[in-house]
């Protein structure tokens, strides 16, 4: 009907719809033309492995953004999970163990404990937002501050006080730092973890009732309610899933870096939110895709790594990143803006 007439030419429409992928390609082309050496397998692997844990936290945050919420406590939850898992995965012969008498646990136990802790806290976020109708910004701001206190209490205590929790067990560092050798290259396990998580989240978002409800709640909560969707329950589940992902991110970060402090994960939530919005997730809810979020993370990682590769000052990198966030969202607003 009359919708056809108002459509722009198909190319410009395609361009507007896929602008983030174009940006990513242009970035790579730009960096490569400045320095052809950039195009190597090693660089690709480095970028992917640096992106991996960021993709996992960003997917958690993205689900919440799609419900028209937000989560400022994500980074601090990463820190909590990092501290918990590291404290339980110190090598048996390490001198400064937090729990000197703890036997070396199988990897899965501390990971599950860390994820359970962040999952619970995130569920609490969900309850506060869904049941007490506290705006998500405020609820998670409070939680961000509170969780930092909690993490610090756990972290800074006798006998060794505020020392980074290091000396991690071999199994743990292998889990987070090593990879699969294919030919002459080693592909970090991290990349595969990110791929598996992305696939699971994609399935949840696109193939389950929870996913559809998530989009409906963000897109038009009133419509969701009158159609019989239990908005509160769905919100709590979505926050909880995000919390589990933060827990996994925290564990991976501790293992990757080889130690953890109460400041691990600081500000990760803002990076994640930035990646989401650049990747096309709408802060007003109802819009967002898994490939978009992944691309958003990759764009930032390519800027980080690529500009450093070119020897650009890190201060200039900040300016570029800031500009990308604003320009990308300005573009997105044009796409959704409606003339009165």
């Amino acid at each position: 009907m009359n919708t056809q007439a108002s459509k722009k030419s198909s190319f410009s429409k395609w361009l507007v719809d896929n602008v983030i992928y174009v940006v990513l390609i242009l970035l790579v082309v730009g960096i490569v033309s400045a320095s052809p050496d950039f195009l190597s397998m090693t660089n690709l692997i480095n970028i992917l492995s640096q992106s991996s844990s960021r993709i996992i936290i960003a997917l958690g945050v993205a689900g919440i953004l799609i419900t028209a919420g937000t989560d400022l406590s994500a980074g601090r939850m990463v820190g909590l999970a990092a501290v918990i898992s590291a404290s339980m995965l110190q090598a048996g012969d390490y001198a400064y163990r937090m729990y000197p008498n703890l036997p070396e646990l199988p990897l899965i136990v501390p990971i599950v404990i860390a994820m359970a802790a962040t999952g619970l806290i995130a569920a609490l976020n969900g309850v506060i937002v869904a049941k007490f109708h506290v705006p998500p910004f405020i609820a998670t701001l409070g939680m961000m501050i509170g969780v930092y206190g909690l993490t610090s209490i756990y972290f800074d205590r006798p006998p060794y006080g505020a020392q980074p929790i290091g000396g991690l067990s071999k199994a743990f560092t292998t889990f987070a730092q090593r990879g699969i050798k294919i030919g002459q290259y080693e592909f970090p396990y991290l990349i595969f973890y990110a791929i598996v998580v992305s696939l699971i989240i994609w399935v949840i978002w696109n193939k389950t009732q929870l996913g559809k409800n998530m989009y409906a709640i963000g897109g038009n909560p009133e419509a969701a309610k009158v159609s019989g969707v239990n908005v509160a329950r769905n919100l709590i589940i979505i926050y909880t899933i995000a919390g589990l992902l933060y827990g996994l991110t925290g564990t991976l970060e501790a293992g990757r870096v080889g130690s953890a402090t109460n400041n691990t994960g600081n500000m990760y939530e803002l990076d994640a939110i930035a990646a989401c919005v650049v990747g096309g997730v709408s802060l007003s809810g109802g819009i967002g895709t898994v490939p978009g979020v992944i691309t958003g993370v990759l764009i930032f990682q390519v800027i980080n790594y690529g500009l450093a590769f070119l020897g650009v000052s890190p201060y200039i990198q900040f300016i570029v990143k800031g500009a990308i966030i604003i320009v990308a969202v300005a573009f997105d607003m044009r796409k959704h803006a409606k003339k009165k």
């Binding site: 409906a216 963000g218 897109g219 009158v226 019989g228 109802g286 003339k339």
Partner: protein
């Protein structure tokens, strides 16, 4: 009346609903036969939507009972009504625009295979419903890409998917083209043949006579009559709808229209469907009313005058000179002022003081040389608003939200008078205001006109237009259907013009 007859699908009996100070429904009854199209008619504010809200449990009724399929029912919410076979296609479509068509239809009850959604079944079921209703929309297309009529058809399909026995359609054709209306009517006929009953709320006489079997008419919250459509004519319906007497509710007119001040020619909005080719003139000291049904684009026209909507064509001449109002700022500079329809959402700053609310549109006037605002000038002008508008308030610092609707409206009108406008645009200036305060607003409007301002006033209350204005522009479906002299017109004439297109 007989207590209950088995032939009716729905019986709403002796429904009464009171709001504080208002009797919204007074002993109203509605009886709908299965497989029939039952039109529900009445002026704006006659109580049609209140009655429907009682049916869907959005309002709880004070008296009366509802029988559906012979059993007494009382739905707690629209979801429950939906599941029991009573559904509504709203005027404002309640859809998740970012999702696709079938997601919307099955929202809240997706077919599942294990833990996954059964997309294939969802697609097939949607396609089957669409086929049975002769709707050609791809179930996978995004709702935001659909036209209004397509969205409406999706809503109807959703109602059908719940196996509804009765579907309420509220102004379903208000934004449809003629071909689309015909398609809607084919769908209605098809539903009828499957014994689905339709409650059809509309203002459009021709449509109603064409599609409906029975008509129930309401007026001022009261039940007036139920008649077979075949026995009715447009004139009779109008007579039943407006047949009330005009009591002395309006102040005597004291204004005298003078020379021409505003000439509007051929105004057409950029985004259609909206108004097109609207022309009229306004004189100094004249009160021009704009009448029209909901959806006739009255508000859009004054918003365009005030620079809030883009135009494809048309000129606005003020005092013989063409002015361009591309934004409210420009419009204010050119001497226009607009008191908006939605006082709560676009008029007042409820938590803030009367002082703030009075001067907010006129800030520049209060700047001193140093660039700060002068408290004394602000206080003087606030006091002027309170005195000359007769605002009843304990102090200038009182928050406007704590005043009555009438007093709030007076402050808003005062706010705009401080900008010294030549043209005052009033959109439903007495909405939600009690009768006594209305009289004061009318007096104020009269007085402003007597002082030489040109006033344009939109109203849905016919008696108000007839009591206050000098001439009335009647809008119908985005077009100017005619301009009538208030002194020599009648409600019937205006109604007929309003239903012209």
């Amino acid at each position: 009346m007989s207590e209950s007859s088995t032939t009716n699908l729905l019986e709403m009996l002796n429904i009464t609903k009171r709001f504080p100070g208002v009797l919204a429904l007074d002993n109203v009854s509605l009886k709908v036969k299965p497989g029939s199209v039952h039109a529900l008619m009445g002026e704006n504010g006659a109580g049609k939507s209140t009655l429907m809200k009682c049916l869907f449990g959005i309002y709880s009724m004070d008296e009366g009972k509802i029988l559906f399929d012979g059993k007494e029912v009382s739905f707690a919410n629209s979801k429950q009504a939906l599941e029991n076979g009573v559904s509504m296609v709203h005027q404002e479509l309640n859809q998740v625009r970012q999702q696709n068509v079938m997601d919307n239809i099955w929202l809240g009850r997706y077919p599942k295979k294990g833990i996954f959604i059964d997309e294939k079944k969802m697609y097939q079921d949607t396609a089957a419903i669409f086929k049975s209703l002769d709707i050609s929309i791809d179930p996978r297309s995004k709702v935001s890409t659909l036209s209004v009529s397509e969205m409406q058809m999706v809503e109807i399909a959703k109602a059908v998917s719940y196996h509804s026995k009765i579907i309420v359609m509220d102004e379903p054709t208000s934004s449809l083209t003629e071909t689309e209306v015909n398609h809607l009517f084919r769908i209605i006929k098809r539903l009828q043949s499957e014994n689905v009953a339709i409650i059809y709320i509309s203002h459009k006489m021709e449509e109603i006579l064409k599609i409906s079997d029975e008509v129930t008419i309401m007026r001022d919250g009261q039940y007036i009559a139920t008649k077979s459509s075949k026995s009715l004519t447009t004139d009779e319906i109008i007579k039943l709808m407006v047949g009330r007497d005009l009591s002395q509710r309006f102040p005597e007119k004291i204004n005298k229209p003078g020379e021409l001040i505003l000439k509007v020619s051929d105004l057409t909005a950029e985004t259609q469907p909206s108004f097109s080719n609207v022309s009229f003139e306004l004189r100094k000291g004249e009160i021009l009313g704009i009448a029209g049904l909901v959806g006739s684009k009255r508000t859009e026209v004054v918003e365009a005058l005030f620079g809030m909507r883009s135009l494809t064509s048309g000129t606005i001449e003020l005092n013989g000179k063409v002015v361009k109002n591309h934004s409210p700022q420009q419009a204010i500079k050119n001497g226009f002022a607009l008191v908006t329809e939605e006082r709560r959402s676009t008029g007042i700053f409820p938590e803030l003081s009367i002082s703030f609310n009075s001067i907010i549109s006129n800030m520049k006037q209060y700047k001193t040389k140093s660039g700060f605002l002068s408290d004394r000038k602000v206080a003087d002008d606030t006091q002027w608003v309170i005195d000359s508008m007769k605002v009843k308030t304990p102090s200038q610092k009182t928050s406007i939200g704590s005043l009555s609707g009438g007093n709030q409206q007076k402050v808003i009108i005062g706010r705009w008078l401080l900008t010294k406008p030549d043209i005052l645009l009033l959109d439903e200036p007495t909405r939600g205001i009690d009768v006594g305060a209305k009289f004061e607003i009318y007096q104020l409007i009269n007085q402003l006109a007597a002082e030489g301002k040109g006033i344009i006033m939109i109203s849905s209350e016919m008696p108000e237009l007839l009591g206050v204005t000098d001439r009335i522009l009647v809008m119908s479906n985005g077009k100017a259907a005619g301009i009538v002299e208030t002194a020599s017109t009648s409600q019937e004439e205006i109604m007929q013009l309003a239903a012209l297109y």
